[in-house]
Amino acid sequence: MNRTMINADAIAPGMSLKRRQQLLSIGYAMPVLVTILIFLMVPIMFIIAFSVMKAGVYGGVEWEFSLEAYIQLLFERQLDESLVFNDAYIGIILRSIKLALMTTVFTLLFAFPVAVWLAMQPKKKRNLFIFLLTIPFWVNILIRTFSWLLILRDTGLVNNVLISLGVISEPIRLLYNDAAVLVGLVYTYAPFMVLPIYSTLEKMDRNLLEAAQDLYHNKIKTLFKVVLPLAKPGIFAGCILTFVPSLGALVAPELLGGGKQMMLGNLIYRQFSEARNWPFGASLSLVLLVMVMLVLMIAVMRADRNELKGGS
């Protein structure tokens, strides 16, 4: 602290101490600010710029102002230049939201018991289990998702087992539908839900569980009246960490949805590759960005309210 003041004095003599320190803290933040500016703000500026330009014939953009990309979101231009309402893209956006929400719910249902169980393990064992939980990250997501193809395909593990057990006589179609995409997404994002819930529960005072049982609450009631409310911040963080990336997911819908069950991520990807419509890809990206920002804003507002309330 002392050093800060000496530096501040050298930089701007005559300024008030508070003002000087403010200036200095901005100085300290400069590397971060510059990094964010170059690697986050500039690309977003490009995307915004691309979205209001004309598509180049061979990809890329032509430097000419146009709102075509936004019009395309809702309307289809006929040969005679008239506009007809087209719900195909809206449909994909809604599907993406629906799938992302379902992913979040299923991931939560799967991850919460795991996190509770982890937090209840003896301290020495916990780190080992956390380590095991992160092992899938060592493998590329493409390969991890591809492995689900082997499990779910007609001649895959699930069908083979069911047939050999005599439960079914012919393979059932498990791939290339929403359920398959959902399985892939839940599998991919489960650790992002487990870890924040675990970290809130790990900090929880174990005496609270004893106190609840001492006060005539059995284990199930204790779970709902004490553990669940105390895990809320972790659940909330986990839901954000699951919902946001699954909204823009690319690999799972591409591989497990067979490209037909498209999500927003696939649509955007296609505009920059096969469709060669960069402005439309850019406008779709902005739609995704706005949706994510909305979710995060709700999160921040909620956190502020909690702070005001003085709750945990």
Partner: protein, 368 residues
């Protein structure tokens, strides 16, 4: 209706071994104990003596390896905690941070599925009792340590337990508050008539508050008795040393007559004391002499023991002396630092040749 004096808790051959660790740690070697209805009963001992284990066994957070716990005649040793009509005040209070003060106090009543109106009524009554009615809507993290302590007490008392267990509830408070809470606890215990089992390592706290005390060490109960019995007639060296201060002197019995024993401390140094352990000539025992029971006397008094003052410590209310007797035997004694008509309060100087008297009734032969 429970009647005071009934057996509230009866513990038979209770034993607890923690198997999870290698070899198993014996937390409680064997406990036999009876706590009476309406009693303020204290488990006193240093940390690791098994007092908390015993309390947790009664609460149901641990299950015994062996033995029985009877609550008003019913064996509860293997019931889960939520089926035992006993409640606990935790050392760190363990208040639910996501609930308000009122919701915390209501928690146990809701667990018992009491009607809403009844819950509200009891919560108000409990908060009144601990003088914190005005804090009902606060969250626990906004309260001071003393306030949290009272809420924890109100929460544990709200379901009207048969027995209230208190695990070092005052240890986290500062000295002044601790003393105030002692009186408050005692008042609430008398007001509610609920049996309290209180765990502490603070002997002063135990002596001041308890009807009876069980002194524990190394997983065993060493002595059970009223504060007077524990202090005046400690049954063994551990109790004598742990409760208050004492001089422990090794002696050999040299003569027994009419309930009085003559004990040889050193060559030519004989102390007389009452024969409370039926010792006979030739027995080697340990004698406990409380420092405050030894007096300086005029050297010409009969039975006076000559000594030399080797250390003097001023500790405010008292002055503490260390004197050397024959053969290097040293004793500590205390004199109250009272106003004695203008006389110098610490007139004895280091190196003075003085004499002390150890009254017959003031010494205690300890069991082996």
């Amino acid at each position: 209706m429970r009647v005071n004096g009934d057996s509230a808790i009866l513990i038979n051959g209770l034993r607890k071994v923690y198997e999870s660790t290698e070899n198993g740690v014996v937390a409680l070697k064997r406990a036999d104990l009876e706590v009476l209805c309406g009693e303020f009963f204290t488990l006193l001992g240093p940390s690791g003596c098994g007092k908390t284990t015993l309390l947790r066994l009664i609460a149901g957070f641990e299950y015994p390896t062996e033995g029985e716990i009877h609550l008003f005649g019913k064996n509860i040793a293997n019931l889960p905690p939520f089926k035992r009509p006993v409640n606990t005040v935790f050392q760190n209070y363990a208040l639910f941070p996501h609930l308000t003060v009122a919701e915390n106090v209501a928690f146990g009543l809701q667990g018992l599925k009491k009607a809403k109106s009844e819950v509200a009524e009891i919560v108000t009554e409990m908060l009144e009792m601990v003088h914190l009615g005005h804090l009902a809507d606060r969250h626990p993290d906004k309260l001071s340590g003393g306030q949290r302590q009272r809420i924890a007490l109100a929460r544990a008392l709200a379901p009207r337990p048969e027995v209230l267990l208190l695990d070092e509830p005052l240890s986290a408070l500062d000295l002044k508050l601790r003393q105030a809470m002692r009186e408050e606890l005692k008042r609430i215990q008398e007001q509610t008539g609920i049996t309290f089992i209180f765990v502490t390592h603070d002997q002063e706290e135990a002596l001041a508050m308890s009807d009876r005390i069980a002194v524990m060490s190394e997983g065993q109960i060493q002595q059970i008795g009223t504060p007077e019995e524990i202090y005046e007639s400690p049954s063994n060296q551990f109790v004598a040393n742990f409760i208050g201060e004492t001089n422990l002197v090794n002696i050999e019995v040299v003569g027994v007559n009419n309930g009085t024993v003559e004990c040889s401390v050193a060559e030519g140094l004989i102390l007389k004391c009452t024969n409370n352990h039926n010792v006979v000539s030739g027995d080697k025992r340990t004698l406990s002499i409380r420092p405050e029971n030894i007096r300086f006397v005029d050297p010409s008094t009969s039975g006076a023991l000559p000594c030399k003052l080797i250390e003097k410590t001023y500790i405010g209310t008292d002055i503490q002396y260390q004197v050397a007797l024959a053969d290097g035997v040293e004793l500590r004694l205390r004199e109250q630092n009272t106003w004695r008509d203008g006389k110098d309060r610490c007139s004895h100087a280091l190196g003075d040749e003085l004499a002390i008297d150890v009254p017959v009734g003031a010494t205690q032969i300890l069991a082996d």
